[in-house]
């Protein structure tokens, strides 16, 4: 039993920490969010230079040979700074799908571009009717000679406005919610028939609604086995859940520290409000919620490689924990900051908004509770 990080892992964390402290303070982030593009490609190049985009890939694929723990360390720091650049979308999701399901040719064609920071990816999986069910697909891919023709509509594709490439889930056979018959395709965002409408999200990111109208792709666009993609999607979205859990712990820790500090300095009724026992206990509860989330974040990151049912329990359980803890910590941080917590000016509300959106990504508490119960 050992919860300490290796020397390399500690170095990685310190490097990300110092880079973000220098280059990603809250006011800089505000400017990035408000800019026309909503992200800073220069940061992305820096991430590549620092090796962050290579960290979780195996050495055989040109990576630095890390994995879930490296992703966890990076994401925790990203959470502390509310980084908006699409690390989860590009490295964890697209990179993970390519690593897990890609042919050697596809890996060779695409992973170096990710590692070098040249290509940004987005994962178009959700549909308006499908809610959090990854198999509930109306989007279809029909065999067309050697290749396929895609038709359909994808909702809230995070990071898509910045992406050059999309990975798209589509039904190649079976009924709308069948587990079989789901396939993945690599699609150029600029391909004929792909149209996007971009918009900002409440946590300062960008997303697109993506329409596919008779989009023709070659046989080499199929990622993994035709009709057998659902288990791969579940596995890689669980990896994304682990990444989001780490991000959430970064957000929560920053909120807790800011709240304790505020309550020590804000005076009402002649004393710091942190002297009031009712607020002390509240902050203790916030602290415990955070610690429990850190534990789940470690746990899921260590269990991603285990059997499907173990992994699902770990990921679903973690998502429930961070969903509940994130909402509690976020809401109480705002409450204890009083009116100040409601302002756009202070970072507190921004952490709260991000934590709220993390609960929505890949299924909220209710969804993951059911998923856990079915796996347990």
């Amino acid at each position: 039993m050992d919860f300490s990080f290796s020397e390399e892992q500690t170095l990685l964390r310190n490097m990300v920490q110092s880079f973000l402290s220098d280059k990603y303070d809250f006011e800089t982030r505000r400017k990035i969010v408000k800019s026309a593009d909503g992200w800073n490609p220069a940061n992305w190049s820096q991430f590549a230079e620092l090796g962050l985009l290579a960290a979780p890939f195996p050495e055989a694929l040109g990576g630095l040979g890390g994995g879930a723990i490296e992703t966890m360390l990076i994401m925790e720091q990203f959470g502390r700074h509310l980084v908006v650049e699409p690390f989860v979308e590009t490295v964890v999701l697209a990179g993970g799908l390519l690593r897990e399901a890609g042919s050697p040719a596809q890996q060779e064609a695409h992973i170096p571009g990710i590692i070098a920071g040249e290509t940004v990816w987005a994962f178009a999986y959700a549909e308006p009717q499908g809610r959090y069910n990854l198999a509930d697909l109306v989007t279809t891919a029909k065999k067309d000679g050697e290749g396929y023709v895609l038709n359909g509509y994808k909702a809230v594709v995070l990071g898509a406005p910045w992406a050059g490439k999309l990975i798209v889930s589509a039904r190649t056979s079976g009924g709308q919610r069948d587990k079989d018959g789901v396939s993945l395709f690599i699609v150029d965002k600029s391909a004929a028939g792909v149209s996007t409408r971009d918009y900002p999200t409440t946590d300062g990111r960008r997303a697109s609604e993506v329409t596919f109208e008779n989009v023709k792709v070659g046989a080499d666009a199929l990622l993994g086995e035709e009709g057998k993609a659902l288990p791969v999607i579940e596995k890689i979205t669980d990896e994304a859940i682990a990444a989001l859990a780490a991000e959430a712990t970064g957000c929560m820790d920053e909120l807790n520290k800011a709240t304790v500090e505020y309550c020590k300095t804000r005076k009402q009724f002649g004393q710091p409000i942190g002297k009031f026992q009712v607020l002390q206990h509240r902050m203790v509860d916030m602290f415990m919620a955070y610690e429990q989330s850190v534990s789940m974040s470690y746990m899921v990151s260590l269990k991603l490689g285990e059997s499907d049912s173990e992994r699902v329990k770990a990921a679903a359980g973690t998502k429930v924990q961070i969903g509940k803890a994130g909402r509690f910590v976020g809401q109480q941080a705002v409450q204890l900051h009083g009116g100040m917590g409601m302002t756009d000016e202070l970072n507190v509300g921004h952490y709260f908004k991000r934590l709220t959106m993390i609960d929505t990504q890949f299924g909220n508490v209710d969804h993951q509770l059911k998923r856990y119960s079915e796996a347990a």
Binding site: Y199, T202, V278, G338, G339, G341
Partner: protein, 397 residues
């Protein structure tokens, strides 16, 4: 004990229902929050009710009240919520108006009440200060008497819609040497007076409702003092009691639950409406039961008030539970809309552009309403302070 309506009350219900249906301005239909309205739109419904003579059912008849019974007022609120009419601004009608007719002199009543009723004067509330939130009595905005004027210096914050206001009612410190609560006065200040600056505060959902108001050597005629100098805390508490009871929002929450059910009926989980999901159904039921209890609690409070007892410390129950319920409903709406909870609808200046907002209409503001509603447990005396009030005043702890 009787909780049912008499035939007369039912007839009254039909009358007001018809009135609302026929007179609610068409251009306001479908608008649910103030953030979506222009200044003129905010006042439209007010003006209709003013012309009808129904703008202040809760005021004494001699000042413009309707003379309705508690039950009739309850029915009126229910019907307004049912028709989803836009909320009336409370600053004149429920806050400073009652202070003026209760504690003001004849001159002040004549001068200020008509403008409140007609909405020719837009009022805002100068209570909180950067250093005085929950501990309101520690306020430091200073008013010094110079001849027949007070000279006011200080700043107020969280001032809702001050950007549109003609007048502000302010708590100011007139005696810095007295005990905190005993050196405060209640002043009415014309927002056009030189020395007043309004700075917007943007809140986390992107809206601009609240402001900071800076007062620098603002000269206020002494005749704008309400009641006696240094007795302002008495009037302030009277106003806060009214604010608390108005804050419960029971009828609006009922409508919001109805809307939540409709959303949960439209959203699908594995092809079936979310509303048929047992877990989600139970969450709606829980909040609805809490609301049912609060409704009867409010009616009991109103009944006690009609027997001459003012809103006592029990009003804090209405504030705490009422705001918790409002927050819970916005939380459930956000849960209900699923992935489209990510959507951010541009507000304020950006709202007029034709920016693309995806997803079903009901999801457009789901997250923003949830974020914005967090203010409810902070304003009007934070819910922690309301617990203190009940502990001290009701339980005697």
């Amino acid at each position: 004990m009787d909780m049912s309506f008499s035939p007369e009350e039912l007839a009254f219900r039909d009358e007001v229902r018809t009135f609302i249906a026929e007179n609610y301005p068409a251009e306001l239909r479908g608008i649910k929050t103030r953030a979506e309205m222009t200044k003129e739109q905010i006042l439209l419904w007010h003006r209709v009710l003013y012309r009808k003579g129904w703008i202040v059912p809760h005021w004494p008849v001699e000042y413009g009240g309707t003379g309705w019974s508690i039950t009739q007022r309850y029915i009126w609120n229910e019907e307004c919520a049912r028709a989803e009419t836009t909320a009336l601004l409370p600053f004149g009608l429920s806050m400073v108006g009652p202070v003026i007719y209760t504690f003001g002199n004849e001159e002040q009543k004549k001068r200020f009440l008509p403008g409140i009723l007609s909405a020719d004067d837009w009022w805002c509330q100068g209570y909180s200060e950067p250093g005085s939130g929950s501990d309101l009595a520690s306020l430091r905005t200073r008013a010094v008497r110079e001849g027949d004027h007070y000279v006011v210096n200080g700043s107020k914050t969280w001032t809702t819609l001050a950007q549109h206001a003609d007048w502000i009612f302010c708590l100011v410190r007139t005696d810095p040497n007295a005990k905190q609560q005993e050196g405060i006065s209640f002043l009415l200040i014309d927002m056009k007076t030189p020395g007043i600056t309004v700075r917007p505060i943007i809140t986390i959902e992107g809206g601009h409702e609240v402001n900071e108001v800076f007062l620098e050597d603002v000269r206020v005629p002494a005749e704008n003092l309400i009641g006696e100098e240094n007795k302002g805390w008495t009037y302030a508490k009277f106003l806060l009691g009214n604010e608390r009871s108005g804050i419960a929002g029971v009828a609006r929450s009922k409508k919001a639950i109805e809307r939540l059910r409709a959303i949960a009926g439209a959203e699908l989980v594995d092809g079936r409406p979310l509303i048929t999901d047992g877990e989600f159904q139970r969450k709606i039921s829980e909040v609805e039961i809490e609301l049912t209890a609060l409704e009867v609690t409010e009616l009991r409070t109103l009944a006690a008030e009609s027997k001459g007892r003012g809103p006592g410390p029990e009003a804090s129950i209405l504030k705490i539970r009422g705001t918790e319920i409002q927050q819970r409903i916005t939380e459930l709406v956000l849960e209900a809309v699923g992935n489209y909870g990510h959507v951010n609808t541009p507000l304020g200046e950006a709202a007029n552009s034709n920016e693309f907002v995806p997803g079903p209409e009901y999801s457009n503001m789901a997250a923003q309403n949830f974020f914005n509603m967090r203010k409810a447990s902070i304003y009007g005396g934070s819910n922690e302070i309301q617990h203190n009030i009940i502990a001290k005043m009701v339980l005697g702890l």
